[in-house]
């Protein structure tokens, strides 16, 4: 029977039995899964767990099973971004975060499903088919890290890694009732993360509780010389969690509670803010005036970068390769057959936005908007400690409901993407249920101040009951 077990619970189980037994029990649960959260299981996982037992590994995550998103390179384990075009690609190297996890003794269970190349909000665009929401299998788990959130919610893994380009960790965390963190840009090395939009994305952890997020962050965060955008900052998080939130100043951006928000979601957000008030915090309304332009700017920048990042998939060196009479035909056919519709749409739009004669109008203008959005956050966060609002404007929608309407799908990222444009850290934490589906509260802080948002999330969690509720079939 699947159950939510936190890292300290896992460690206790390992002490009582063994890492091997713990890993075996997860493999057993995954074997019975009905949600299509995992794409690949690592056949070495059980051996790794055995070695941890044999060597009495004393790393901070010794024997802790973890699930990894399909776009994070794992040596010897298929890494496909849930795309046909990368079928058969097995990286010859580990991403920086994977190296760190292995050193810390974590046991990689396997890879999790995602929207193809992380381009989506629902995990429906995966080559492996959609992942189902453990709370209601007719609904999406969110995306693009839908697999990573769903397997944690379904008790198939205690913790996982996702990646967040415009909300891809926080959205599925909210939809699946888990905690998910998008760290500050530069906080975690991207070395080995297959790029969708390099200037926006960060790897981030997902877990059933805030303490586990902090535990993973202490292992994976920090400077890596192989990623020029990674920055050397202190990465201790766990100790700060227990500090209270008395005197904390909360800003509530009016723009995040205005357009298209579900009333029940809005009420849950206000209830949450009042909980913080009860804990000694205060709130004030703030404004992020350029939010209305953020979505457009985000999509232009992300698609532009993507159009270039995805150029390397031409069938020449790895992955899927179509037949063609010459190289150009082969490469064209490989791309025509290998990429799904949404990926092609974004490559085409991105190519257009970067083209001579249009670059000024789109890409360069989007960069200017990005600067304005960043300034919005700097101004707002100069007067308050954190910003709070709904992670997603609605609870998880139904599978198939929005996939035919890209624009409405893009619109659901309205609260998450400005944060990636600004590069600030943000966490989604469960704050209640609407129509029996989980809702996430998004807490955003200043650059490299993950401590404060984690502390807020932890205090909220300790003083509410939302995270104690489980999906059906999970104990």
């Amino acid at each position: 029977m699947a159950a939510w077990t936190d890292i300290s619970g896992i460690r206790q189980k390992i002490a009582d039995s063994s890492a091997e037994e713990v890993t075996a029990s997860y493999i057993d649960i995954i074997g019975k899964s009905k949600i299509n959260g995992f794409t690949t299981l690592w056949d070495e996982a059980i051996n790794v767990a055995r070695d941890i037992d044999a060597n009495s590994h004393d790393g901070p995550l010794a024997g802790v099973p973890i699930a990894i998103k399909e776009n994070i390179s794992t040596k010897g384990i298929s890494t496909t971004c849930s795309s046909k075009i990368l079928q058969g690609y097995v990286p010859p190297y580990d991403a920086h975060v994977i190296e760190r996890l292995k050193e810390a003794g974590a046991v990689i269970l396997g890879k999790t499903n995602m929207d193809e190349f992380a381009m989506g909000t629902s995990t429906e665009s995966s080559y492996y088919g959609p992942t189902l929401n453990p709370w209601d299998p007719s609904r999406v788990p969110g995306g693009s890290s839908g697999g990573s959130a769903a397997v944690v919610a379904a008790g198939e893994a205690p913790v996982s890694l996702g990646s967040d380009t415009g909300g891809s960790v926080r959205c599925p965390a909210a939809f699946c009732g888990t905690v998910g963190l998008k760290p500050t840009y530069g906080c975690i090395s991207r070395y080995g993360l297959i790029s969708y939009a390099n200037s926006l994305e960060q790897i981030g952890p997902l877990a059933t509780n805030v303490a586990d997020i902090a535990a993973i962050m202490e292992v994976v965060a920090g400077h890596d010389p192989r990623d020029s955008t990674s920055i050397n900052k202190e990465n201790t998080y766990i100790d700060a969690l227990a500090e209270g939130v008395e005197g904390m100043r909360i800003g509530v951006p009016e723009e995040y509670l205005s357009h298209g928000i579900d009333e029940k979601v809005e009420k849950l957000v206000w209830d949450s803010i009042h909980t913080f008030e009860d804990l000694g915090a205060s709130y004030e309304n703030v404004s992020l005036p350029h939010t209305r332009y953020a979505l457009a700017a985000y999509y232009i920048i992300a698609m532009s970068e993507a159009s270039s990042n995805l150029a390397r998939f031409d069938g020449t060196r790895y992955g899927f390769c179509a037949e063609g009479d010459n190289w150009h035909l082969m490469a064209s056919k490989t791309r025509a057959e290998g990429f799904g519709a949404e990926v092609k749409r974004r490559i085409l739009l991105g190519t257009y936005a970067l083209s001579a004669g249009y670059q000024d109008k789109y890409y360069l203008k989007a960069l200017k908007v990005r600067t304005l959005v960043k300034q919005d956050f700097e101004r707002a966060l100069a007067n308050v400690d954190v910003l709070m609002g709904p992670t997603m404007p609605t609870p998880a929608f139904r599978i198939g409901e929005k996939i035919g309407d890209p624009l409405s799908l893009y619109m659901s990222d309205v609260n998450t993407v400005p944060i990636n444009l600004a590069g600030v850290p943000s966490i989604s934490v469960p704050c209640g249920f609407a129509d029996n589906m989980p809702v996430g509260l998004q807490i955003t802080g200043t650059h490299f101040d993950e401590k404060t948002i984690m502390k807020a999330a932890y205090n909220f969690e300790q003083n509410t009951e939302h995270h104690k509720k489980r999906p059906p079939e999970v104990a």
């Binding site: 991207r190 390099n198 955008t229 159009s307 270039s308 150029a311 020449t316 060196r317 190289w327 970067l354």
Partner: protein, 473 residues
């Protein structure tokens, strides 16, 4: 004399220089020492463009680039940035080339060349850093190839692209520019020009103030001169027949010595340049003072110093300073022998013999040329023998002294020459009488006799002078 450039030829050059003296590639730790290695043996996730890999700038490459910029009299930008140049080609593993666009590391420079009518300044527009793609190798010949193999050993090598203004007025000036550039780069010790593909040239050419045509795929300096000669002739003929030159890119077919159209302006790529998000902007201005300290004396400065310090001719000083190795060789030589004599022997004689054999100065030892010169100065051997020794060393090896002994090149002693002169006069009274009667030619006959008697070891000029003296008595 002023060169009036009758066809209004304008040539600009883009030269790609591979910084093969760096130990590692531009964005990864792979070794640059791949020239004699198996294909795809010097690669890693970064230079293969594997998904998820990220570039990290090679700091030493930045230093080299600043050095080159300074040597070309450029200003160095405060902060530089890399851009992506997007296009598809199988040798390009990422589907884009990481290069510099609107913030090249160096710009607004100039170098001075020996132009058609004296010194000429060629302006350098910019010098920027970029990565080299891999190499395609066709199985069999290119037209009927069974397939193409890709070798990514070269992928990610650091290049500097040096772009000039269209300031050259003839293929000869273009060639001089390339030679000068190579000379400067040689001095900076940033590349080994002898390695394959170390310097690659693209040219743009226009005549009669017309549209410019770009000529690509020039792989040697000789090739550049040929390509330009052909292209100028082609454009002139085309105009003469009533045609107009339109902007296009042409490809130089080295084997046939012709340029062929590749694409017209309408077919030009849109490279969709945008800033490389994986590399942060790089502040370089702060590093300039340190790099300046490492700049060596450059060819022009060295030439000036040679002229002043050694009191040698402009022509000699130039010849001696084109290659740093030759300049260093000369300076070793002048520590032992007279600089003016040394200039003649190194710049004229030795360099001539080396060029004739396509050899570099490495083929000759300083001590050997010093030996030869000392013997000539001491009048122990003739100049001709000196040249012969140099040729023998180059062709067959050996030390000068052994060659002298083996070939019996030592000049015969004075009394022997004197004796031979006396004998020749005594034994050829008719010729002596003719000479005294004013027949200059008869002297040659007597000189010949002297040479015969000394078995050619006498210096002919000396023998002649002695005869004249003797016959005046």
């Amino acid at each position: 004399m002023v060169y009036d450039n009758p066809d209004d030829v304008k040539i600009g050059l883009e030269v790609h220089v591979q910084l093969n003296k760096l130990k590692t590639k531009l964005f990864c730790g792979c070794s640059t020492d791949y020239h004699n290695s198996d294909p795809n043996s010097h690669v890693c996730p970064v230079c293969l463009g594997l998904p998820g890999s990220l570039p990290v700038i090679n700091e030493r490459a930045v230093e080299f680039a600043i050095k080159i910029g300074l040597a070309l009299n450029c200003s160095i930008v405060e902060q530089t940035q890399f851009h992506r140049k997007n296009y598809y080609y199988p040798d390009l593993p990422k589907g884009f080339q990481t290069t510099q666009y609107d913030y090249p590391i160096a710009g607004n420079g100039k170098i001075v060349i020996e132009g058609e009518d004296g010194e000429r300044v060629i302006r350098i527009t910019r010098a920027h850093m970029e990565e080299d793609p891999g190499r395609l190798q066709h199985i069999g010949n290119i037209e009927r190839s069974k397939g193409t193999l890709i070798n990514y050993n070269r992928s990610g090598m650091a290049l500097i692209e040096i772009v000039s203004e269209p300031d050259m007025r003839s293929p000869k000036e273009a060639r001089r520019y390339l030679d000068k550039l190579r000379s400067i780069l040689d001095y900076l010790d940033v590349f080994n020009g002898d390695l394959e593909g170390a310097m690659r040239v693209d040219a743009n050419v226009s005549v009669f103030n017309g549209q410019r045509v770009e000529v690509k795929n020039i792989s040697s300096f000789k090739g550049a001169e040929r390509a330009l000669l052909y292209e100028i002739m082609r454009q002139k003929n085309h105009i003469r027949r009533g045609g107009t030159i339109t902007m296009e890119t042409r490809h130089f077919d080295e084997a046939r010595g012709v340029t062929l159209s590749m694409r017209t302006k309408e077919e030009e790529h849109d490279y969709r340049y945008f800033p490389e998000p994986d590399l942060v902007p790089l502040r370089v201005a702060d590093r300039v003072p340190e790099v300046i300290k490492t700049l060596p004396e450059l060819p022009d400065a060295k030439k000036e110093r040679f002229m002043k310090e050694y009191n040698i001719a402009d022509m000699h000083a130039r010849a001696l300073t084109i290659e740093i190795k030759v300049a260093n060789f000369y300076e070793e030589v002048v520590s032992k022998v007279d600089p003016k004599v040394a200039a003649v022997w190194v710049a004229d004689i030795l360099k001539g013999e080396l060029n004739y054999r396509d050899l570099t100065i490495d083929a000759f030892r300083v001590e050997d040329i010093v030996d030869v010169m000392e013997l000539v100065i001491a009048n122990s051997i003739t100049e001709q023998s000196g040249v012969e020794i140099i040729r023998t060393v180059l062709d067959h090896g050996g030390k000068p002294q052994d060659i002298i002994n083996k070939k019996g090149l030592l000049k015969v002693e004075d009394n022997i020459v004197a004796k031979a002169v006396e004998e020749a006069i005594a034994q050829n009274p008719e010729a002596v009488a003719d000479y005294r009667a004013g027949k200059e030619k008869s002297l040659n006959f007597i000189v010949g006799k002297v040479m015969q008697k000394t078995k050619g070891r006498a210096d002919a000029r000396e023998a002649r002078e002695r005869l004249i003296e003797k016959l005046k008595e």
